[in-house]
């Protein structure tokens, strides 16, 4: 039995307990109406200190008074034991992959290998300054070069930049490269980017940021892009088409060859949102199939930790046609066995930087380790297992929920709670919240936007069949509950650290910080 299953099982037991008993906090200090006080509330003037030596008294004597703070800095004052307890207690309020099953569709919440955390913290990697001369950075440069080559091979593309900090930034990079490509050809009439209605919100937002107008095309009944609608939308004004493949519905785009032909016939380029590459490693190489440019989400496919919402990394791979426009600097081979960064003047056609320095290198180290651990056969096995698990779970969930699209799915699938809502008034949001009481993180809900009462479920390849069974049983049990005791589902969760939140008040009168602190006028402890 995996850890995930064990925890899911124990959390199911927890669900049967009274809410107060199940809440973290019992047995620790009394907590009034708050789960955990803030740092400001814990602060007592005079606590803490001892981390760095005291400076000489005249350290700031040469700074003009006008440039100095008029009031001393106010920050919380705590000693280290309190700091540790504070953050450990907060960590207990989180659900995570390390504690249980996290089937958040489109996010690929797979296990994060511990070796990779160790590797990224090796002092040689961790303390290297980003402006260190190439001769001091040979280890990291070699790693980056090898990662560029591996991603090029996996994508079937010619060249790779590791600079983008996230998938959304990868999109911006790719679309700006397409813009530069058309501009270099004098083709300035291309002002539109086409996205399907099932796309990630980042796609149209990216197109806007890059100065394009977004044109949305509908999906066909089978979930794929409507080819006729796409052909109608394409024209001399189209700069690019952004496709997610497999799509956000978890389906491979069956008409991909015809779609790409149509895009290229119109003189436009094809961008692939690679968010769902976990489904097709070694099975589908976007560049070989005709996509011009794509991004990877290393935090999804190559298992770098999600960190509570970041950091990730969004490398961009492209074909020969777009390679001149990749942002500089790339990592290139110098003398045999040595590597260097491109010099600024080396490739004048490059679009500008999208972030400072070389990228989220700490994330790159982890992704490199993941790719090397698996190798060619292991990467393919990842996708095989992810797709097998998704189809198995899909079939089990389909025993109670509507499956709006025919299978097979790839690494994730959509189900709909529409019939349930009609029959009982219980919405998908309620089902998701009730899953928390069953010990699971809910799937993605209400995305893609084109499916009513949508659940987007992604099991990943690192969950055991026992966990998949428990999750399916929980979803089906909630169906029965929704018919017999709808109020119980609508008032879920009751076993989580808090119940549902008043989001409307939070947005109407935003409280985005604690009240300003005043205490730090106290003298510096000596």
């Amino acid at each position: 039995m995996t850890d995930g299953t064990a925890l899911a099982t124990s959390a199911r037991v927890g669900a049967a307990m009274a809410p107060e008993e199940a809440r973290p906090g019992a047995g620790r200090q009394a907590m009034n109406a708050a789960l955990q006080p803030t740092l400001a509330e814990l602060s007592r003037p005079g606590r803490g200190g001892g981390k760095v030596p005291h400076p000489p008294a005249d350290a700031l004597a040469r700074i003009p008074a006008s440039a100095l703070r008029s009031a001393p800095l106010a920050l919380p004052e705590l000693n280290e034991p309190e700091v540790v307890r504070h953050f450990v207690n907060l960590s207990h309020l989180n659900y995570s992959v390390d504690s249980g099953f996290y089937p958040l569709g489109s996010c690929t919440m797979k296990f994060n290998p511990k070796l990779n955390e160790w590797a990224a913290r090796l002092p040689g990697f961790a303390t290297l300054h980003p402006l260190a001369p190439d001769e001091l950075a040979q280890g990291t440069l070699e790693l980056m070069h090898e990662l560029q080559e591996a991603l090029a091979e996996i994508s079937g593309m010619a060249a790779v930049t590791l600079q983008p900090a996230a998938g959304a930034q990868g999109e911006l990079t790719g679309i700006l490269m397409i813009r530069a490509y058309h501009a270099a050809r004098g083709d300035v009439a291309r002002t539109e980017v086409i996205v399907p209605d099932s796309s990630h919100g980042t796609n149209p937002a990216t197109a806007s940021m890059a100065g394009f107008r977004t044109v949305t095309v509908p999906s066909a009944a089978d979930g794929g892009v409507d080819l006729a609608a796409l052909k109608d939308a394409l024209g001399p004004h189209t700069a690019a088409v952004m496709l997610t493949n497999p799509s956000t519905l978890g389906l491979f785009e069956r008409r991909i060859v015809e779609l790409l032909d149509a895009v290229h016939e119109a003189g436009a380029l094809a961008y692939m949102d690679g968010a769902n590459m976990n489904a097709v490693l070694g099975r589908f190489r976007p560049g070989a199939a005709g996509f011009d440019v794509m991004h990877f989400n290393l935090h999804k496919t190559f298992s770098t930790p999600h960190g509570g919402g970041g950091p990730g990394a969004g490398p961009v791979a492209c074909n020969e046609r777009l390679a001149p426009f990749l942002p500089a600097p790339l990592v290139v081979k110098a003398a045999p066995g040595s590597y260097r960064l491109e010099r600024p003047e080396e490739r004048a056609s490059a679009i500008g930087r999208v972030r400072a320095y070389q990228g989220n290198v700490g994330v790159l180290v982890r992704a490199f380790a993941y790719i090397r651990a698996h190798g060619a056969s292991g990467l393919r096995e990842i996708s095989d297992d992810a797709v097998l698990a998704a189809n198995y779970l899909r079939q089990r969930v389909g025993q109670g929920y509507e499956l709006p699209y025919a299978g097979p799915c790839k690494h994730e699938f959509v189900a709909s709670g529409r019939a349930l809502r009609q029959a009982t008034g219980v919405r998908t949001l309620d089902v998701a919240k009730r899953l928390i009481d069953h010990g699971f993180h809910p799937p993605t809900i209400y995305f893609p936007l084109i499916v009513d009462e949508c659940l987007l479920i992604e099991p990943t390849e690192t969950e055991s069949v026992e966990t998949l069974d428990l999750f399916a049983e929980a979803l089906l049990a909630i169906l029965t509950e929704a018919h017999d005791h709808p109020e119980r589902v609508k008032s879920a969760p009751t076993s989580a650290p808090v119940r549902r939140l008043d989001e409307a008040s939070a947005a109407r009168k935003p409280e985005l910080r604690w009240r300003p602190m005043t205490g730090a006028g106290t003298p510096c402890p000596t």
Binding site: A34, L35, Q36, L39, G48, G49, K51, P55, L60, I63, S66, R69, L73, A74, F87, V88, L90, S91, N94, Y95, S96, D98, L104, E117, R121, F125, L128, P133, E135, Q138, G139, L143, E153, A168, E171, L172, T206, S208, M209, A210, R254, V257, G282, F284, A288, H306, G307, G308, P311, G352, R353, N360, V361, A376, D384, R396, P497, L512, R513, C524
Partner: protein, 449 residues
């Protein structure tokens, strides 16, 4: 496979349930013409072999030199409590707190990050973080464009070159204009030129962007620059370094509408470029212009205080092509690092870190001047400054062989500027030792002799 749980029997059971004999059946929806057969990559590695390989790569990097390199990324003492909290799986293997009931740990730490940065900057609204200082600066420029409905941004020449480049990239999409303002011989921004540029009624300015300290480590006349910007109806954007805010005037004090900066000095390792922490802060008036995530305080059904992502309607997943930015994630784990660091170091500790850096830098200045490399500029600095060194780039390379990383040869950033061709940008922090300073000065003295 290394991390997968499935046995042969498990796969067999799942395939039997699906009525298939091979997993290949699940990939038949990929058209035959575009099906890949195999990847040309190395075979899998056992964890032990991979660990050895990774150690070998890390050891190829050289981080043993006496380093005086800053230029936007600074080595500081990071108490081990920071990384030990970061290594809690409950934090680093969670994702975006979409389900607030089981994400209060992440949500409260982001709220605390926002509050701590509000204390540091004096500005009320702090985003949950951006990718890095450069992208936060670019987003600040775009905020000014949206808030003023003007399309021209002025930026000091003494701004980090990567920040300038990234801001240019971000502005290029909308056809916006980015104009550079010259500097005076003392190294600070030429306010007379700024005033003249702001006076051009044909080309109204959305925002004025200055660094404090600037890219040469110097302290700018922020209050005057801010007044000039406001008199012309433009917003004033300060690019700040967070440790310095323990002692320097806050952006709020000199009237900045937006502050952007790199949070790396707050407990985050250099890592050859990232992941870092993009700080973005603004006033309550501009709250709805700020891109990216925000966490707010609220109550649950039982009246218990709790935290939740708020003002989400500005974001890409809801607004799509009308969103304030395409940013989806933040750098939550890096924001956690900054939060733990600030909690551990405290207000006096942070002031000591900033002041010690200033004291060490002064020691460095005197030692290098004695060695024959005086300061290039006359404006006051905090802990980083430029020195005049003939043939700076060549000297920099030779010093590497002597175990000294002599900062940044400014010719790398300003190749066309004859004065900066003979200059090195050097810094000191609380981790710089007197012995390292002596070693640098001695080696430089010999090179210049």
């Amino acid at each position: 496979m290394a991390y997968g749980p499935h046995t042969h029997d498990d796969r067999g059971r799942m395939m039997a349930a699906l009525g298939i004999e091979s997993v290949d059946a699940l990939f038949e929806d990929i058209p035959i013409d575009v099906r890949a057969s195999r990847l040309d990559l190395d075979p899998p590695m056992a964890e032990l072999d991979l660990a050895v390989r990774l150690q070998g790569l890390a050891a190829r990097n050289r981080t043993d030199l006496a380093s005086f390199l800053g230029a936007g990324v600074y080595h500081h003492y990071v108490p081990p409590v920071v990384d030990q909290m970061l290594l809690r799986g409950e934090f680093y293997t969670a994702y975006t707190p979409y389900q607030p009931e089981i994400s209060q740990g992440t949500l409260q730490t982001i709220f605390e990050y926002q509050s701590l940065l509000a204390e540091l900057t004096g500005l009320e609204v702090v985003s949950a973080s951006h990718y890095d200082g450069a992208t936060a600066t670019a987003e600040a420029a775009l905020m000014a464009v949206r808030a003023t409905r003007r399309d021209r941004v002025l930026v000091s020449r003494a701004i980090h070159r990567h920040y300038l480049d990234v801001t240019g990239t971000y502005l290029s999409g909308g056809g916006l204009v980015l104009d550079e303002m010259p500097t005076l011989p003392d190294g600070t921004t030429d306010l007379a030129a700024l005033e003249a540029a702001l006076a051009d009624a044909e080309r109204p300015v959305a925002g004025v962007l200055l660094g404090q300290p600037n890219a040469f480590g110097l302290l700018e006349p922020m209050a005057q620059a801010s007044q000039l910007a406001h008199a012309a109806g433009a917003l004033f954007i300060a690019v700040v370094e967070p440790v310095s805010l323990a002692v320097l005037a806050t952006p709020a004090e000199y009237g900045a509408d937006i502050a952007a900066g790199e949070g790396q000095p707050l407990g985050i390792a250099a890592q050859y470029g990232g992941p870092y922490l993009g700080i973005l802060a603004t006033t309550t008036e501009l709250m709805r212009q700020i891109p990216g995530r925000l966490v707010g305080e609220t109550r649950d059904l039982d009246g218990r205080r709790a935290f939740v992502m708020t003002l989400r309607a500005r974001e890409q997943d809801i607004r799509r092509d009308k969103a304030a930015s395409n940013i989806c994630t933040n750098q939550a784990l890096c924001a956690l690092a900054a939060t733990v660091y600030l909690a551990a170091i405290g207000p006096h500790g942070l002031r000591d870190v900033a002041s010690l850096g200033a004291a060490r830098a002064r020691e460095l200045e005197l030692a290098l001047a004695e060695a024959g490399a005086p300061r290039l500029h006359s404006a006051p600095y905090l802990n980083e400054f430029a020195i005049r060194v003939p043939q700076a780039q060549a000297v920099h390379e030779r010093l590497l062989q002597r175990g000294v990383l002599a900062g940044l040869a400014l010719a790398r950033w300003y190749p066309d500027d004859p004065e900066l061709r003979d200059a090195l940008l050097v810094c000191a922090t609380e981790v710089t030792t007197s012995a390292e300073i002596r070693r640098f000065a001695a080696a430089l003295g010999e090179e210049l002799a």
